[in-house]
């Protein structure tokens, strides 16, 4: 089996600085492997994630986008993840409405202590995306058939 033939999804993970990014660091220092397809962008808080960023990722060919933040109630800025939760709920529902499979978008709350959860989440997510295959839809939204 050659690695080159395998579908390598592009996956963008937005991680809040205080919990999830630290959770990813812990996954790293605990050597808890997850696929290299996941690339992390550090944001101060999940509430910094503008739906535009996610649309941009899909438009540029991302196959999946995941946003990670502090657990509800644990936000470093106290309320940021509550706003993020509503925004992402609505955005992902809209993407689903446009025909972007639900499994291509995900929100997971990962604390600084949850290296294991971070790694597991990423493994699961990549697996889901690999099953779905390449995402071409949003790039292609305004082209004639």
């Amino acid at each position: 089996m050659s690695l080159n033939n395998e579908f390598k999804p592009k996956i963008v993970a937005f991680c809040c600085n205080w919990c999830s990014y630290a959770g990813a660091d812990l996954a790293g220092s605990s050597r808890l492997a997850y696929p290299a397809d996941v690339k992390i962008i550090r944001v101060p808080c999940s509430c910094r994630v503008n739906p535009m960023f996610i649309l941009r990722a899909f438009e540029k060919g991302a196959d999946g986008v995941i946003m990670c933040g502090c657990h509800p109630g644990d936000c470093h800025y106290s309320t940021g993840n509550y706003y993020a939760r509503r925004r992402m709920t609505l955005l992902f529902s809209m993407l689903d409405y446009l025909g972007i499979e639900r499994a291509r978008t995900r929100v997971e709350w990962v604390s600084a202590a949850e290296g294991v959860k971070f790694s597991q989440t990423m493994n699961e997510f990549v697996e889901d995306i690999r099953k779905l295959g390449k995402n071409v839809r949003l790039e292609d939204l305004r082209c004639r058939n």
């Binding site: 739906p51 535009m52 809209m94 025909g99 639900r102 995900r106 939204l141």
Partner: protein, 324 residues
């Protein structure tokens, strides 16, 4: 209609208002347009009938900057937009004298043309306050008819009701014209497979010519400078048809007005390509109502908008994700 003109004249004459914002007769029977009237003389062109669908609220943003009050005519559904703009500090309630004008459903020539009626010379039956059940249309190809209901705007089939949420005085009666389920179209799309959904929206959005009519008419798109014209996002790249903004325009716009859109339906009304743009906004409205409780933008100035609010128990975005 004469009552509206008389009242406007009186308010101009006694100095209560400096100008009148209303509808002016167009070139044809079916295309009245929004207009400011500053004198009694100007008001001879004033018109109010079934074709006056245009929502005048957004014009009050500029009118709020002018000296003196502006008399504005708002239909029940337009009053929601005005309220929403007040809430966002975009219009000045003190600068407006609002006459809540009655409405019995608005018709649009687009629907008449869709019914195959071409070469229209005149239309009879769209009068207010007593519209006919059937519009009688003289065309180059003979007399035609269409029922008032069939010519009605989509938004009137899901009418918000007869009540104005803001006004200084009210003139004329209204009729509740609801005869369709508000979220039926959205639900139909939701039931499709991902492939069907995408095919549907791609077909619709591919018609878009990016004329910006939807944005320019939208009372929620009231930004001084739109993100699509701003260098602060990489979204202002007008010339580039493969760019981000070209593809994502309608989705970003829908998200920007989510929780602020009153569902006035102006976007769909003005789209020259006939794209059912309200389907984006209404999807958000449906989700907001389902997830966070019923919310009607513009209804209550004090209400916290759903996207600037939260509860500890809000549903998780992943709650409806099916894994595997």
């Amino acid at each position: 209609m004469q009552e509206l003109v008389n009242r406007a004249k009186a308010l101009l004459a006694d100095g209560t208002v400096a100008r009148v914002l209303g509808w002016k007769a167009g070139e044809f029977a079916y295309d009245p347009e929004p207009a400011f009237f500053e004198t009694e003389e100007d008001l001879k062109d004033f018109v109010y009938d079934g074709f006056c669908g245009a929502n005048l609220s957004k014009y009050m943003i500029e009118a709020s900057k002018l000296e003196g009050k502006t008399l504005v005519f708002l239909k029940p559904c337009d009053s929601y937009s005005f309220n929403q703009l007040t809430k966002e500090h975009r219009v000045d309630r003190e600068k407006a004298y609002i006459i809540g004008v009655g409405c019995k459903g608005k018709v649009d020539v687009k629907h008449i043309k869709e019914a195959g009626i071409k070469g229209i010379e005149s239309i009879v039956g769209a009068d207010y306050p007593n519209p006919a059940e059937t519009l009688e249309i003289k065309t180059l190809y003979g007399d035609k008819t269409i029922s008032y209901k069939d010519a009605m705007l989509e938004r009137c089939h899901v009418c918000k009701g007869k009540d104005h949420v803001v006004f200084d005085e009210q003139i004329g009666e209204s009729a509740d014209t609801v005869d369709a389920e508000r979220f039926a179209e959205v639900e139909k799309i939701e039931a499709m497979s991902p492939e069907e959904k995408f095919a549907f929206f791609r077909a619709e959005l591919s018609k878009c010519i990016r004329c910006n009519a939807c944005r320019n008419v939208c009372p929620a798109c009231s930004c001084r400078k739109c993100v699509f014209d701003s260098t602060k996002f990489d979204s202002a790249q007008k010339a580039n048809t493969t760019s981000f903004e070209e593809k994502m325009f309608h989705i970003i716009r829908a998200f920007h007005v989510a929780g602020r859109c009153t569902d006035c339906g102006e976007c769909s009304r003005v789209c020259p390509q006939g794209i059912p743009l309200h389907l984006f906004n209404r999807k958000f409205i449906k989700d907001i109502n389902t997830f966070y409780g019923d919310y009607q933008a513009g209804e209550d100035i004090e209400a916290q908008a759903p996207l600037t609010d939260f509860t500890f128990e809000d549903r998780e975005p992943g709650q409806f994700a099916e894994r595997g």
